[in-house]
C-alpha cells in the first residue's frame, strides 16, 4: 500500500503519525489486507447482506426521560452553560 493511502486513512481516522510510524503501518497493512483478502474467494451469490437489527423490533419513537445535562457533561474536558466547549469553527 502506498504511503499516501496510509496518510489518507489516518486523515479519515483523525489520527496523526510520525513518518516512522507511517512506514511501520504500511508494512502491517500489507499483512492485514492479505488476511482480509481471503474473503474475496467466498461464493456468496444470492446471499443477502445481514442486518443486525430488524427495524420492526425497535421501540416506538417516543420521548423518554434521559440523563440530565450535568451528568452528561461531568466527564467533558471543558464545559460551560450546559454545553461542551470547542474552539470556534465558523469564520
Amino acid at each position: 500500500m502506498e504511503l499516501s493511502e496510509i496518510k489518507h486513512l489516518a486523515e479519515l481516522s483523525k489520527l496523526e503519525f510520525s513518518q516512522t510510524e507511517l512506514e511501520a503501518f504500511a508494512s502491517d497493512f500489507a499483512s492485514l489486507v492479505s488476511l482480509a483478502d481471503n474473503i474475496k474467494n467466498a461464493d456468496v451469490k444470492g446471499k443477502r447482506v445481514l442486518q443486525s437489527i430488524k427495524l420492526g423490533d425497535l421501540r416506538k419513537d417516543e420521548t423518554k426521560k434521559s440523563l440530565p445535562c450535568k451528568v452528561i457533561l461531568a466527564n467533558a474536558p471543558l464545559a460551560k452553560k450546559d454545553s461542551f466547549v470547542v474552539p470556534r469553527v465558523v469564520e
Binding site: S13, E16, L35, A36, N41, V44, I53, N75
Partner: protein
C-alpha cells in the same frame, strides 16, 4: 474452611445460613487480591467494597435472599459502575468516571452481589493477551511468564487465583473463552442478544456480548440467570424467555457434532491431540458423536477482522477530545483536538484497528470487504443452522494450544489475530459457546474445549458441561 476456594453458590448458602458474614467473605477475597497484586489482574479495588458488604449483611439479616446475596464479583474495566472509574484499559479514559450503571451492574447489585473492583483488559477489548493494556500486562495465574489471554485477561486471572468466585468479561471474538482456556476455568459467551450491553463500552456492536468466568458450572449458570433478559435500554437485547439454566437437564442422549473442517484446521497444532482425546472421552461416556460440516468456517477469521474493525472505527469515533475526559492541551482548532487527543490517548493496536476499519469502509473497498463479509456472515449462519439439524451441540478447541509467553508474538499483527481462529465463529453467527477446561498442553498448562450451542440454547451446553464434570 478456605473462604476464597468456595463457589458463589456455596458462599451464598453459607451467608444466608449465618455460617459466614458477607463482610468476612469480602475481607478474605480482598486479602487474596492484595496478596496477588504482582499479577496485575485488578486495576482498582473499590474503596466502598467493605461498606457495601456490611450493608449487605444488614439486608440479609432483614430477610433479603437475592440469587447472589453476599457474593463478591469483579467486573471488567469496560462495564459502567456509577461513580467509579471505567478506563477500558486505555490512557484515553484513565479519568473517566461512570455516571450511571450498566444494566448488568444493576442486575448484579439487585441480586445482592458486592462488586470488589475492576479488572485489567486489552485496551478497548482489542487483543488476545492483555498485553495491550495501558496499565501494564496481566500475568498468567499458572505460569507468571505467560499471558492470561485476552482481552478479559484480568477477569480470568482474578477468578483462577481465587480473588473472586465469578467475574464478568466481555466478548467480541473470543475475549472470554480464550482467557478462560489459558487460565483453566469456565468462560461463557452467551447468544447475541441474551445479555444487555447498555453501559458496556462498545467495540463492535453487532458482535459484542458480556461473558461470565467461573470455576464451577453452577456459578456460571446462576450468573446467566441473573444477567439475561430483555432490557428497554438495549434494543438488540432479546425478549426471549430466560431459562432456568441452573436446573441442568439430562445430557446423556445429546448428539455431539464434530465439524470436519475443524479436524482439518487442528492438524499439526498443539490442540490436535487434546481435541481427539476429548472426542474419545465423550464416546466413552456413551454420547453419540457425529460428523458435521461448517464448510466456510475457514473464512470466519477474515470475516471477523473486517466486521469488527469496521464497527470499532465507527464506535471509537466518539472519543474525540470533546466528551470523554481527554483533550490534548496544545490543540488550537477542532480538527487538532480530534487528531491530537486521539493520537496521544489511543495505543498502537487500537489505532491499527481504527485504520483497518476505515480502510474496509472507505469508498472503493466497502463492497469488496464490508458487504462481502456481511454476506459471509449469512453463509456461516446458514451452515451452522444446517449442522445443528444433525446435532445438539458442536465442539471445537478454544485455542491453538497453551498460553504463549509474554512478548513472544512476532511483530506481524496477523500472527496474533490467528489466536482467534476457533472462537470468532460463535460471535459471527450469534450462538452461545462455553469454554470448559479439558486436558493439558506440553508444558502442563491448561487447554480448553468449546461447547458451541444453538442460539439461545445455553441450557443444553450448561447441561452437557455438568455431565462432563460428573463423568471425569
Amino acid at each position: 474452611m478456605e473462604i476464597t476456594k468456595l463457589s458463589a453458590v456455596e458462599i451464598r448458602k453459607k451467608i444466608l445460613s449465618g455460617e459466614l458474614s458477607c463482610k468476612q467473605t469480602v475481607e478474605s477475597f480482598l486479602k487474596q487480591i492484595e496478596k496477588n497484586t504482582a499479577y496485575n489482574a485488578v486495576l482498582e479495588i473499590f474503596d466502598d467494597a467493605l461498606a457495601k458488604a456490611e450493608e449487605m449483611d444488614k439486608k440479609i439479616a432483614a430477610g433479603f435472599k437475592g440469587k447472589l446475596a453476599g457474593v463478591p464479583v469483579i467486573i471488567k474495566d469496560n462495564i459502567l459502575y456509577e461513580g467509579k472509574i471505567c478506563s477500558c484499559g486505555s490512557k484515553f479514559l484513565k479519568n473517566y468516571r461512570a455516571q450511571y450503571n450498566a444494566t448488568v451492574t444493576d442486575r448484579l447489585l439487585a441480586e445482592g452481589a458486592v462488586i470488589l473492583g475492576r479488572a485489567n483488559m486489552d485496551e478497548f477489548a482489542m487483543g488476545s493477551s492483555t498485553e495491550n493494556s495501558a496499565f501494564g500486562i496481566t500475568h498468567n495465574p499458572i505460569d507468571f511468564d505467560r499471558v492470561p489471554g485476552g482481552s478479559s485477561g484480568g477477569s480470568a486471572c482474578a477468578v483462577a487465583l481465587d480473588m473472586c468466585p465469578i467475574a464478568l468479561g466481555t466478548e467480541t471474538g473470543g475475549s472470554v473463552r480464550q482467557p478462560a482456556s489459558y487460565c483453566g476455568i469456565y468462560g461463557l459467551k452467551p447468544s447475541y442478544g441474551r445479555i444487555s450491553r447498555y453501559g458496556v463500552v462498545a467495540f463492535a456492536s453487532s458482535l459484542d456480548q458480556v461473558g461470565i468466568f467461573s470455576k464451577s458450572i453452577e456459578d456460571n449458570a446462576l450468573m446467566l440467570e441473573v444477567l439475561a433478559g430483555e432490557d428497554e435500554n438495549d434494543e438488540t437485547c432479546s425478549k426471549q424467555k430466560v431459562d432456568d439454566y441452573s436446573n441442568f437437564s439430562d445430557a446423556k442422549n445429546l448428539k455431539i457434532g464434530v465439524p470436519a473442517e475443524i479436524l482439518k484446521m487442528t492438524k499439526g497444532l498443539e490442540c490436535e491431540a487434546n481435541f481427539a482425546n476429548f472426542v474419545d472421552f465423550l464416546k466413552a461416556c456413551g454420547l453419540q458423536v457425529v460428523p458435521v460440516s461448517i464448510k466456510d468456517i475457514e473464512l470466519a477469521l477474515a470475516t471477523y477482522y473486517i466486521l469488527a474493525p469496521a464497527e470499532a472505527a465507527s464506535n471509537l469515533a466518539r472519543f474525540d477530545g470533546v466528551k470523554y475526559t481527554t483533550r490534548n492541551a496544545d490543540a488550537k482548532t477542532l480538527q487538532q483536538i480530534y487528531k491530537k487527543s486521539r493520537s496521544e490517548g489511543f495505543g498502537k493496536e487500537v489505532k491499527r484497528r481504527i485504520m483497518l476499519g476505515n480502510y474496509v469502509l472507505s469508498s472503493g473497498y466497502y463492497d469488496a470487504y464490508y458487504n462481502k463479509a456481511k454476506a459471509v456472515q449469512g453463509l456461516l449462519i446458514d451452515e451452522c443452522n444446517k449442522a445443528f439439524e444433525s446435532c445438539d451441540v458442536m465442539i471445537m478447541p478454544t485455542t491453538l494450544g497453551e498460553a504463549f509467553k509474554i512478548g513472544s508474538k512476532p511483530s506481524d499483527p496477523v500472527e496474533t489475530y490467528k489466536e482467534d481462529v476457533f472462537t470468532v465463529t460463535a460471535n459471527i453467527v450469534g450462538c452461545p459457546s462455553l469454554s470448559i477446561p479439558f486436558g493439558k498442553g506440553k508444558n502442563l498448562l491448561p487447554l480448553g474445549i468449546q461447547l458451541f450451542g444453538k442460539k439461545f440454547d445455553e441450557k443444553t451446553i450448561f447441561s452437557l458441561a455438568k455431565f462432563i464434570e460428573e463423568k471425569r
